[in-house]
């Protein structure tokens, strides 16, 4: 590869998979055996993979919106990297959802051609951040929960989902540490940063209830040891959040009793519609378009 001419270095190859034209990366599970575990309902596994995949896809989009708006370039890199990890997890999970469904839908069709009512992400993933403190508070809550979930999911019975989770554990550990680091720095910072971070925790932490109530799909699959019942994640979650808040000199607000997430059944706020308008607009305007 010649480095003298940047354009030429991207084009002087005998293949068409150079990044200047997109990666052409069409099947993140290419060659991974697609068989389903015995006794598992296709619809249930597809729905479960959409839940975990949509959580990652939608939050990834929210994180991408912060690139060029973060306080420092290092944080833009961090948020872009975290968003990329989540996007990678989403691609694998959506592809697995399409395989389980068995109707021939691939990750792109699932990401770009579903309406808001077909998205199964938790509401926490779609909300817009009022400020950077809310961004890191939400990322702390989300990644603490997802890490506890993936850590258990890695030992469950669908080999593809378990492998995606095992890989994700390494990634989400860094996401959680990043978010926790900022909550501590801002919480234990100036009077203003403390007040704004406490306000963010007061808004975001009470939204976590939906993360710990199993959807019927999760309950059925958990009985077959193919999913994790999120009720069992609460103790670890509370322990980690308490550790962070203590060091950050912040206090936990009182929390309403947990309710099943309306998002898991496709009931979303206007915020998801706004995300999808941005994310799906081009793909819907030029179906199948590549460049």
């Amino acid at each position: 590869m010649s480095f003298d001419d940047a354009y030429q270095s991207l084009t002087d190859h005998d293949d068409d998979a150079r990044w200047a034209y997109g990666t052409g990366f069409t099947d993140p599970l290419a060659g991974v055996p697609s068989a389903l575990p015995d006794g598992v309902d296709r619809g249930d596994l597809a729905a479960y993979c959409l839940m975990l995949g949509d959580d990652a896809l939608i939050l990834s989009h929210r994180l991408q919106q912060w690139v060029t708006r973060a306080p420092e370039i290092e944080d833009e890199l961090a948020l872009a990297n975290i968003g990329l990890d989540l996007l990678g997890q989403a691609r694998l999970l959506l592809t697995r959802a399409g395989e389980a469904e068995g109707a021939g839908r691939d990750e792109d069709q699932l990401a770009y051609l579903r309406d808001p009512g077909e998205f199964r992400n938790v509401r926490l993933a779609e909300r817009a951040d009022a400020d950077f403190a809310e961004l890191v508070a939400r990322l702390l809550v989300f990644s603490t929960w997802r890490l506890a979930l993936f850590d258990r999911l890695a030992a469950t019975g669908d080999p593809v989902v378990a492998a995606i989770a095992a890989k994700g554990v390494k990634e989400v550990s860094y996401h959680r540490d990043y978010a926790a680091g900022w909550v501590v720095r801002l919480g234990d910072g100036t009077e203003l940063s403390h007040a704004r971070t406490q306000a963010a925790i007061d808004v975001v932490l009470p939204l976590s209830g939906e993360l710990f109530v199993a959807h019927p799909v999760e309950r059925r699959l958990a009985e077959l040891d193919v999913a994790v019942d999120p009720a069992g994640l609460r103790a670890e979650f509370d322990d980690v959040i308490a550790q962070v808040l203590r060091v950050a000199t912040l206090t936990a607000p009182s929390q309403p009793s947990p309710q099943q997430s309306p998002g898991r059944d496709g009931d979303h706020g206007a915020e998801l519609t706004e995300i999808l308008a941005e994310m799906q607009g081009l793909a819907r305007a030029t179906p199948g378009g590549v460049w």
Binding site: M1, H13, D14, D15, D16, A17, R18, W19, T23, G24, F25, T26, P28, L29, A30, G31, V32, E74, D75, L77, A78, A80, N81, I82, L84, D85, L86, L87, G88, Q89, R91, L92, L147, A148, D151, P159, V160, A162, A163, I164, A166, K167, G168, V169, K170, E171, S173, Y174, R176, D177, Y178, A180, G181, V184, E236, D239, V240, Q243, V244, V247
Partner: protein, 162 residues
């Protein structure tokens, strides 16, 4: 050359000083009646280089006379920096990127929370200062972090041990 020898010469698109074999992402190369099957594993879930890697492997195999070749993905066990070979580590160091130490061994129980900066005992690649500071845990690619030496003040990259 065997298919495995050819596959071993293909370099990584993001760390072009390393071959895919040195990076530890080629897990298997099999020559069978139906052609060559190369099995690779992604470093990170979101690695955008996977298709370029697949295309580079197929192009190299075709160039070496293996027309029938396919590249398969394997997700488990998850890639670890422990799979980067000794020669790979030497080449990273030569390029000014500090190679990773041993991947952290997880104690039983929940994944431990790290508050504050991880002390990985990373020495400065320029002046040898044993203790350096993390600038950010994320850098130009997911697998690298940016650090700074408090003695010579130079920033440098380090491959995170995972």
């Amino acid at each position: 050359m065997s298919a495995a020898d050819i596959a071993a010469t293909v370099t990584d698109p993001e760390l072009p000083m390393l071959t895919l074999a040195e990076l530890g992402i080629i897990r298997d190369v099999e020559e069978g009646a139906d052609g060559v099957v190369v099995t690779i594993t992604p470093t990170y879930s979101g690695c955008p280089a996977m298709e370029a890697i697949r295309a580079d492997l197929l192009a190299a195999l075709r160039g070496g006379g293996f027309e029938q070749a396919q590249v398969r993905t394997v997700l488990a066990p998850a890639w670890t920096t422990d799979w980067i070979s000794e020669s790979g580590r030497a080449k990273l160091a030569e390029a000014g990127i500090v190679p990773p130490g041993p991947a952290p061994r997880r104690p039983a129980g929940p994944v431990p929370l790290t508050l504050g900066v991880r002390d990985d005992g990373v020495a400065c690649p320029r002046c040898g200062q044993p203790r350096t500071e993390q600038i950010t845990a994320f850098s130009a690619t997911a697998c690298r972090e940016l650090r700074r030496c408090p003695a010579c003040r130079e920033p440098f990259e380090h491959v995170k041990a995972i």
